[in-house]
Point group: C2
Chain length 305, copies 2
């Protein structure tokens, strides 16, 4: 169960602060629902901080979140690799550190559309960091252990997205970019950032294969590896179409001899009403698999068995 | 975990048939994803049967489902009130009855847009029948008890939907109806059936209030009643907008003195890529609340705590 701290944009577990466990705090701009508040609950985030649409939350909001959930065993901040988020989360980290709270952070940069690792944006894979690090924290691990598994997830994960339409920030009132009726944009970000290539629309199987090759190559997946699959809708794409994509991804994995641990398809990290989807693959190890299957009580993460 | 019975359109629990419990079977046309296969799992459906897009499954498909999950304690069919579904599910019921399988059915007709109860369509509320009857079956209840609680859910539940756009059956290739840029259609069905009123587009709060009044009046809700709330996206509406609607519905319940047991918002029973949403209210009693909170392991129903 969740509690909204009125007027702050912060949502926390009602049982906060939980003594004896590491607290996990994440956040970012609004417009990505159910990210981030949808992942607050036992076994995932302790608190989520929401900025305005596509805008980093302010330092003081993040401070409110940290102070509300700190149970004495430390706080891990899960930051996506955007300059605004980095600046405000790190400022908050510095401030609470001086007051004696044990705090650390990880930076999610799973968007393999961008070649240089340091410039890679954090996108839908962030949800899997929340799940796995959250389960580790819930199990009573220390801050450095929770941070370590979060970093292992980040370095074994890749995502790439495709847009069939742009999206409209309500504060602006017109689409961020425009796409022709028969065009699509590969490698888009979560905020209507243009992608790395624009091309003629193709059928779902072909698009799925294109994204799959890009992520699989980046992760250097090879026969015998095992992956967790997330097909993420960008907001305006119906589930039926996500399932068509999921089927193709599962077929491709099978023909490449790569084991599928579990696959989920749904709207996990959206860009307002954008049509399109992203593919995230996470190369899993034994501990990650345990953490993925650990129970959680959040509004938006599906039951995994 | 689920098993797809290749070539039949039937998805069952991998542990089927489960001895000693009543099996729950539902289904209908495709295009409503995650309905119905997304609700197969421990604590909900035993099997889901999918027809072509917006087309009832055939009798033989339903027979396959029943025969695959019957564990000896009987089978309850959850049918939505459409002529094709009624005909095929009842034909299957008659056939298996003659072979000695204990089987019965309930008919879901939660769409309060239509005045006459016998003509009311089964829409998103079907998911709550699956949840509550499924939990009752999982708890080991007999067929007549499972049927009884399913019927109690049906007679205490109302839904109504609004469309901001039509949807396109892929087999046809053009929208089923057309709506102007500034028009909306109230009381639409799940298959692109036109609604009961077309009117000028209004803001989300006003639409939410209009739908709320219609359902609350139909259920004759009064101060002190307690309801479960489902805000259901029709496929093309982003979650952020569903949350805006959910907030308004919660405010309205509060000002009417009606208790909110739990509220969920998401894409639970869609109409392909239609933009719009539906509101379902279920007047809950103690047993229904227990069954709603009972654990389940399906891909699409959210964790409730």
């Amino acid at each position: 169960m969740l509690r909204n701290i009125e007027g702050t944009g912060v949502v926390v577990r009602t049982d906060s602060p939980v003594k004896g466990t590491v607290a996990l705090v994440s956040g970012g701009g609004s417009g990505h629902e159910p990210l981030h508040a949808g992942y607050v609950g036992k076994g995932m985030l302790s608190a989520a901080v929401a900025g305005a649409v596509f805008t980093s939350p302010a330092r003081d909001q993040i401070l409110t979140a940290i102070n509300s959930v700190n149970g004495g065993n430390g706080v891990l901040l899960v930051i996506k690799n955007y300059s605004g988020d980095l600046m405000n989360f790190k400022l908050a980290e510095q401030l609470v550190s001086t007051s004696g709270i044990k705090v650390s952070h990880v930076v999610v940069n799973d968007d393999v559309a961008i070649k240089s690792r340091e410039n890679r944006r954090g996108v839908a894979g962030t949800v899997l960091v929340h799940k796995i690090a959250g389960a580790k924290a819930e199990a009573g691990a220390e801050l450095d252990e929770v941070k370590k598994i979060a970093e292992r997830v980040i370095s074994n994960m890749g995502s790439v997205g495709v847009a069939l339409s742009s999206c409209t920030n309500p504060a602006v009132g017109k689409p961020i970019f425009t796409l022709g009726e028969n065009e699509m944009e590969i490698g888009i970000g979560m905020h209507g950032e243009t992608g790395v290539a624009r091309m003629e629309l193709q059928d779902a199987d072909k698009i799925a294969e294109m994204l799959y090759r890009r992520v699989a190559d980046d992760l250097e997946l090879k026969r015998g590896d095992e992956v967790f699959v997330m097909i993420n809708g960008m907001g305006g794409t119906p589930l039926m179409e996500l399932y068509v994509v999921a089927r193709k991804i599962c077929d491709l994995l099978e023909s490449d001899g790569i084991k599928r641990f579990r696959a989920i398809a749904g709207n996990f990290a959206t860009s307002l009403e954008m049509a399109g989807f992203s593919l995230t693959l996470l190369k899993v190890d034994v501990e990650m698999k345990q953490m993925l299957l650990a129970p959680q009580t959040t509004p938006a993460f599906p039951v995994l068995v």
